[in-house]
Symmetry: C2
Subunit: 363 residues, 2 copies
């Protein structure tokens, strides 16, 4: 097909969620995809799913994408570099310093390797969860290094763009610090908080609101994978965690003597810094706070939400975000709708005219 | 009206969000509501909104609800007890030990006082945000104590039930420990995490995903109110925070020597404890994990979500939860829909038959 940047063949090593999804995405664009996996069962499954074909003698891939767990990524990349001396090799592990360090230390030809990392997480893995469109619109970090030329590195850009993702260039060190801050530390903070709920009286957890649910949602992640990720990025994670602990110590000090001079101010500064931090997250919930929220009360019966959203559609308003919230057993739920501020007054008027109860509106 | 438990009049002191909402809810049921506030402007506004009437000489309320900030609650309750010697008095502050302790210490007649706390938070306050249905289906803690008789205390139950809330009885100490765990510590944990993002490179925060957004959402809360709440519940909050810090120290130790014996196991146990903690939260995201999720891809244009939900409604399936997620600038979003597990296969089949792309399905 004419709309691809890559020429192919592309060899994918590791037929899990990411490998299968990359294979499905490239195959759908007509690129010749070669799949390989140490597990014959995984490999057959991914081939059956249409993610690519089995390897044959004499394959000469343009690009190799290593999609194996973080702790074996360096070793597999090294063996691919050795086995295919004309290919460019990348990997998709969620840490970027350790594979490059391991390759450099082992004397591998890193002039043909650039690590990368698609930020397209899912809660479940495996070939059966693979989707051709998994990377659509997601950031995909390309962690360049001085040992590879611009021309060779461009094959990785082509891969990212052919899969519909957004290439973001940063060094391996920048990448590992960034994911420590925005992904690995949040995971630990959420897990530690949720861990405090173990053994709590049921009457206490019965008071949980949406705030606790949101703050602990990612604490349901899989331990095996996270131990690998955290172990591989330990240094960057510890840097952030130490600063976090210092801040936490300040809060504990203030709360131990809440009436001491400066204690209230210290607490206020922590909450205010949190306000500033949320505002620093780009996108719908951050930065320019460009959306207005309104909360509409919805009876808990089939078709009510659909009717609401049909009527929003009829008003010609595009929702930017939507959340439905209801308490177990309650007869009424709340739909929190985010829209552009200029659309809000009209939408409120239209919905109220149709008999909807607006529980809350405003920026 | 015949469907109320309270007889009235009910006197409400403090015409902010909660006071105005209680007044609106009771007035709507035909109960005589007397409003009072130290600010004449606030008071007039709440009366204009229909939340009640101005006080007159000779008012003899059945029940008084004190809805003022936590730091003045004890003092206002004491003056109400003295001014209205036949009335039962409650308050709605988000801490329950300090007001009772202050009243007992001051020699007030606590045989006519029980504190309470409606868990019906909103991000914005003030009379203009008041809603008659604010408490519908929400938990409302009644923090009983031995100094008040069952008969007298029942007026507070009547208040809670008349407003459509769910009464939950616990001691002031149990309440303050519970909200420290499920509300105050999560607030601090989220604020401290978000605070770490201040000054981070934009390239780092550009990698933020839904996990970070969820974990830090409540960090946008108002500092002034939180300083009061945290100061008033300092002892209970510190208890939880110290245990949290101990767990955090364990993680830091493990990450400082990730290859030391036991380090990986320590990390795995933290993540696994987080899994167990999330499962301990009752309701839609917790305990029995009774819903299946499916993720449907939706083009980012008006009417698409409405069409999706109309078609879900036509399939006769009731959504239990719904979230819409899309990356800024992406042409496609994801609707995450929770349904009862038995409804999922049919819904997937119906949606796929209508051309929707299911990005993910399963429990």
């Amino acid at each position: 097909m004419s709309d691809t940047r890559l020429i192919g063949p592309v060899r994918i090593v590791g037929a899990g969620l990411l490998g299968t999804s990359i294979g499905l995405g490239l195959s759908a664009k007509g690129i010749d995809v070669i799949l390989d996996d140490t597990s014959p069962a995984n490999l057959t499954l991914a081939v059956d799913y249409g993610a690519g074909r089995l390897p044959v003698q004499g394959d000469s891939p343009q690009l190799i994408v290593v999609c194996v767990p973080p702790d074996v990524t360096g070793r597999v990349v090294a063996s691919e570099l050795a086995a295919f001396p004309d290919a460019i090799v990348t990997d998709v592990a969620s840490v970027k310093v350790p594979p490059l360090a391991e390759l450099t230390a082992s004397g591998a030809d890193v002039s043909r390797y650039i690590g990368s990392h698609p930020l397209a997480g899912r809660e479940r893995g495996g070939a059966v969860a693979g989707r051709a469109d998994l990377f659509l619109g997601r950031p995909w970090v390309i962690a360049g290094h001085d040992g590879i030329s611009y021309r060779r590195g461009s094959a990785i850009d082509d891969l990212v763009l052919d899969l519909g993702a957004i290439p973001i260039e940063m060094s391996p060190e920048q990448h590992d610090s960034a994911v420590a801050l925005v992904s690995h530390v949040p995971q630990l903070v959420a897990s530690l908080l949720a861990g405090r709920l173990v053994g709590a009286p049921a009457a206490s957890t019965a008071l949980a609101g949406q705030g606790l649910r949101d703050t602990t949602r990612i604490a349901s992640s899989e331990p095996e994978l996270w131990v690998q990720i955290l172990g591989a990025n330990a240094a960057s994670v510890v840097d952030v965690l130490r600063a976090y602990r210092d801040d936490l110590d300040g809060v504990i000090d203030a709360l131990e003597r809440p009436d001491a001079p400066g204690a209230r101010r210290a607490l206020a500064e922590v909450i205010a810094a949190g306000n500033a931090g949320v505002a620093a997250i780009p996108g719908k919930h951050g930065q320019d706070r460009r959306y207005s929220q309104l909360v509409v009360m919805v009876d808990d019966k089939p078709g009510e939400i659909a009717r609401l959203l049909t009527e929003i559609g009829q008003a010609g308003v595009n929702m930017e975000d939507l959340r439905l919230e209801h308490s177990p057993g309650a007869q009424v739920g709340f739909a929190e709708i985010s829209v552009l501020p200029e659309a809000e007054p009209r939408l409120v008027a239209e919905l109220e005219a149709r008999g909807w109860r607006i529980a809350e509106a405003g920026a």
